[in-house]
């Protein structure tokens, strides 16, 4: 029962009690499908108490007959005397809806209720309950207003999600805040691998979890998720779970799964309707995010090596340099040049040169930390920005990279050449604040260090501060 309905009926009971001398009342609603009276509250000597009591009414006895026909019923046990007054409420707003409310007057002294008290109590009930329609109307109005608000909020979320950093997370948080599900999970279809894979889940504490391990092949019968997606259903609701296939022009792009499993709360019909009506917009928003990510990837990442390009690096180095200065932390820069890259290109062709670049970029990506930021600076030069890292840390990483890159063997047989080539790199390092006070200085010093290695036999590493010492020798 809705809180507004309870408040209204409580006021009616209070008034009825004031006009009669009935001290104690328990209010029930009759659940017809179960033949049970479900208590909602008690009013006992001026104290309002929510109450849980279920009374089986049966379907063949005089109690049942009295309740469904709106006649009074009397019950007594020991000194407890109960008098039931049913009230049949016919809704004018919802067609064919009849609700049966039951007021139980209680005495604990073994005495009967006076006819006058019962009459007065019933008069108040029948006069005041006429206005119960107004409560229903208010509740419907509230749902309508809420739906309009949700529609507006969803529109805003869908449009803003494109411009937000971490767009998926933003979208999911927005949905969670609006609908208040216990958890929402987002799945995407990977057409090339023919799988449905998890992206994120978000729960009511706004905690976001990676569910990328949750993958299933897009084959019918393997999982209920896939079966629902491959069916033509717009939306599937199973008790506490709602499955919303995301489709654009009948093409499956993913699935949104929302559940109220933890709270064991059934999903409300108006939430289902709203989600259903926004399903195509939601799918569009998700498709847009995917496209946006692709465009971002193309414009900020090198197509061949998948490493960020110089423009992206310049943006990032400014942020990191500012952070290093602000929090007084070290920042290092590694500048890598592939040894004899021009010769490889000239001798074996650009295709082999491309393979070399891809292999080295992959090795670098695999070896660095998550916070490190690599970049294809141009040609065969690769830079790595190392936040919160001193010269010593950078040297350690550079030596590991040299070792790892030496392990790469490029087999040229697929190019029709019977040869395996080995690779090596030259590396220069500069660090903030020891070697440089500005971004330009940091780049210049790392480049100077690299130049020294290249001019001293290649295949090695030196930090700028050590280069000074070398030069001083």
């Amino acid at each position: 029962m809705n809180r507004k309905e309870i408040d209204f009926i409580f006021k009616v009971v209070k008034k009825a009690r004031e006009e009669s001398s009935v001290a104690n009342v328990t209010f029930f609603e009759f659940i017809k499908e179960e033949n049970v009276l479900k208590a909602i509250f008690r009013y006992r000597n001026d104290i309002f108490m929510e109450h849980n009591e279920f009374v089986f009414v049966g379907d063949t006895n005089s109690f049942y007959d009295a309740i469904i026909s709106g006649n009074d019923f009397f019950s007594k046990r020991g000194k407890s005397v109960y008098f039931y007054i049913p009230f049949l409420f016919r809704s004018r707003l919802i067609e064919n809806q009849i609700r049966i409310f039951v007021f139980r007057l209680e005495r604990f002294d073994g005495k009967r209720f006076s006819v006058r008290d019962i009459r007065r109590f019933k008069n108040v009930i029948s006069n005041s309950m006429k206005d119960f329609d107004l409560v229903e109307f208010e509740i419907m109005k509230e749902i309508y207003t809420k739906n309009v608000k949700i529609a507006t909020s969803l529109g805003t979320i869908f449009t803003r999600s494109l411009t937000q950093k971490d767009s998926f997370k933003y979208l999911m948080r927005g949905l969670e805040n609006i609908f208040g599900f216990d958890r929402i999970r987002l799945y995407r279809v990977d057409e090339t691998r023919n799988i449905l894979y998890g992206v994120f889940s978000i729960d009511r504490t706004s905690m976001i979890n990676d569910i990328s391990n949750d993958t299933v092949e897009m084959i019918k019968g393997l999982s209920s998720l896939v079966d629902i997606l491959l069916s033509k259903d717009d939306i599937v609701v199973k008790d506490y779970i709602i499955y919303l296939p995301l489709r654009i022009d009948q093409k499956n792009i993913g699935m949104l799964v929302a559940d109220n499993l933890l709270g064991v709360v059934h999903i409300k019909n108006y939430d289902i309707d709203l989600l259903k009506s926004f399903a195509s917009l939601l799918a569009l928003a998700i498709e847009n995010i995917i496209l946006f990510e692709k465009i971002e990837e193309i414009s900020l990442y090198d197509e061949l090596t998948k490493l960020p390009i110089r423009r992206f690096f310049n943006q990032r180095i400014s942020e990191e340099f500012y952070r290093a200065k602000r929090f007084n932390q070290p920042l290092s820069l590694i500048w890598i040049d592939i040894d004899y890259f021009k010769e490889i290109n000239d001798t074996y062709g650009h295709q082999v040169g491309d393979v070399v670049l891809i292999e080295i970029a992959t090795t670098i990506t695999r070896t660095i930390r998550k916070i490190d930021f690599p970049c294809r600076w141009g040609g065969d030069e690769i830079l790595i920005l190392l936040p919160q890292s001193s010269k010593e840390h950078a040297l350690g990483l550079a030596k590991r990279l040299i070792d790892e890159i030496k392990k790469i063997k490029i087999d040229l047989s697929s190019f029709g050449i019977s040869k395996v080539i080995n690779l090596s790199v030259s590396i220069g390092i500069a660090s903030y604040p020891d070697d440089a006070k500005s971004i330009e200085e940091l780049l210049n010093k790392a480049d100077e260090a690299l130049y020294w290695v290249k001019s001293h036999g290649k295949d090695g590493v030196i930090a700028y501060s050590d280069l000074i010492k070398e030069n001083d020798k």
Partner: protein, 387 residues
């Protein structure tokens, strides 16, 4: 400051808290707004979504097994911030209600606890069983006793047992008494497996439901509890978690055993403190003022329950009760307060509600019994993994 207390058939509980609120206002000049809530209603407030969220009370009473979930949802404060737990000498078995879900931080304070016993009218049953046999009665003998009592009564609406569960049907806690006869609770020790796959657990659940099916225990009756155990001619025994049935005509013993039960079921009701409260300092003052043994003992006396303070038993229990309950408390056992336990309980209660409805409608059918329980098991274990 807003305080929610759980509804109870015992009206004195509300009078007690009203009195506490009046005294607190008088002594500390802080007003407490008390609301009486059902578990269902508190649950709805917890899970109502942001748009319509009813503000949760600053302080509220919950069954102890909810504390882990409330902590996980970030809804309650650590009591480490509010008081010094070392100053309270609580029963050691209540520790897991204070530190939920294997946490090292405390998140609730026990308010009172209950322990199950079998109460019976000694004069009514002496024809069928001796006092010595009754003292350590086994489940099978208990069922025989119920059958004898039922057959010997010619009174309409007679049931050997009265149903003391306020809501009128059988709930998870009732059945747990029976499950403890055959298994150490519903879950495995690490809380990850719901042991509905075990035959002994299924039999224990059915054992308890059968009490109603065999018409030993009534269901969905009108609630007359406020006048205490008044069904003198309509029943002779009752399981109760409280001491409310103790009088001169009654005797009490342990819940009937099957072989040798390891534990005795105890359930605690605790106070928790909302993490979104704006009345932090008032809560601190309230705890310091309220959590004195005399206040807590008074509540235990009024509600006929037990004080969480270890040293208080002699202050409100008779010698005979002391003997009985000391033995029970020495093996006191509470279900774990894990994140998913309340969800499990809610699902299981829905299952039991339906089964009870089927019994009163005389359409009980056990063909889907195991299947339905296995569905609950699958959902609950999925939640264990997810949360």
């Amino acid at each position: 400051m807003k305080l929610w207390i759980l509804n109870d058939y015992n009206y004195s509980k509300y009078l007690y808290f009203k009195n506490i609120s009046d005294e607190f206002l008088k002594e500390k000049n802080i007003k407490i707004d008390i609301e009486i809530k059902t578990r269902e209603s508190v649950w709805e407030s917890i899970f109502s979504f942001n748009g319509n969220k009813e503000k949760i009370a600053d302080v509220f009473e919950v069954p102890h097994q909810w504390v882990g979930l409330l902590k996980r949802l970030g809804l309650i404060l650590s009591t480490d911030l509010l008081c010094d737990l070392n100053s309270f000498n609580f029963f050691s078995f209540l520790k897991k209600t204070i530190y939920p879900d294997f946490s090292s931080k405390s998140f609730s304070l026990p308010l009172y606890f209950e322990a199950v016993s079998l109460f019976y009218r000694k004069n009514d049953i002496k024809k069928y069983i001796t006092p010595t046999e009754m003292k350590d009665i086994k489940w099978n003998d208990f069922i025989i006793l119920c059958e004898k009592l039922k057959n010997s009564s010619r009174v309409k609406d007679y049931y050997p047992l009265d149903n003391t569960n306020i809501c009128g049907y059988i709930t998870s806690d009732d059945v747990l008494c029976s499950v403890l006869n055959r298994n150490d609770g519903y879950f495995s020790d690490d809380g990850t497996v719901l042991e509905f796959h075990k035959d002994e657990v299924l039999s224990a659940i059915k054992d308890y439901i059968d009490l109603s099916q065999k018409k030993y225990l009534p269901l969905f009756e009108e609630n007359f509890f406020e006048r205490e155990f008044i069904k003198k001619k309509l029943s002779n025994m009752a399981f109760s978690f409280r001491r409310d049935l103790v009088d001169n005509e009654m005797d009490f013993t342990r819940f009937p055993d099957v072989i040798k039960r390891n534990y005795e079921l105890v359930r605690s009701f605790n106070l928790v403190f909302s993490s979104s409260t704006e009345e932090f300092s008032e809560i601190k003052i309230f705890i310091e003022w309220f959590y004195k043994p005399e206040n807590i003992i008074n509540l235990a006396k009024v509600m006929k329950v037990f004080s969480p303070f270890k040293d208080d038993l002699s202050k409100y229990l008779s010698k005979k009760e002391m003997e009985h309950y000391r033995d029970i408390f020495s093996r006191g056992w509470l279900c774990d307060s894990t994140v998913v336990y309340p969800t499990f309980e809610k699902m299981f209660n829905e299952f039991l509600y339906k089964k009870c409805l089927d019994i009163v409608n005389e359409r009980i059918d056990y063909s889907d019994f195991k299947k339905d329980l296995m569905e609950i098991k699958a959902l609950v274990e999925y939640l264990v993994v997810s949360y």
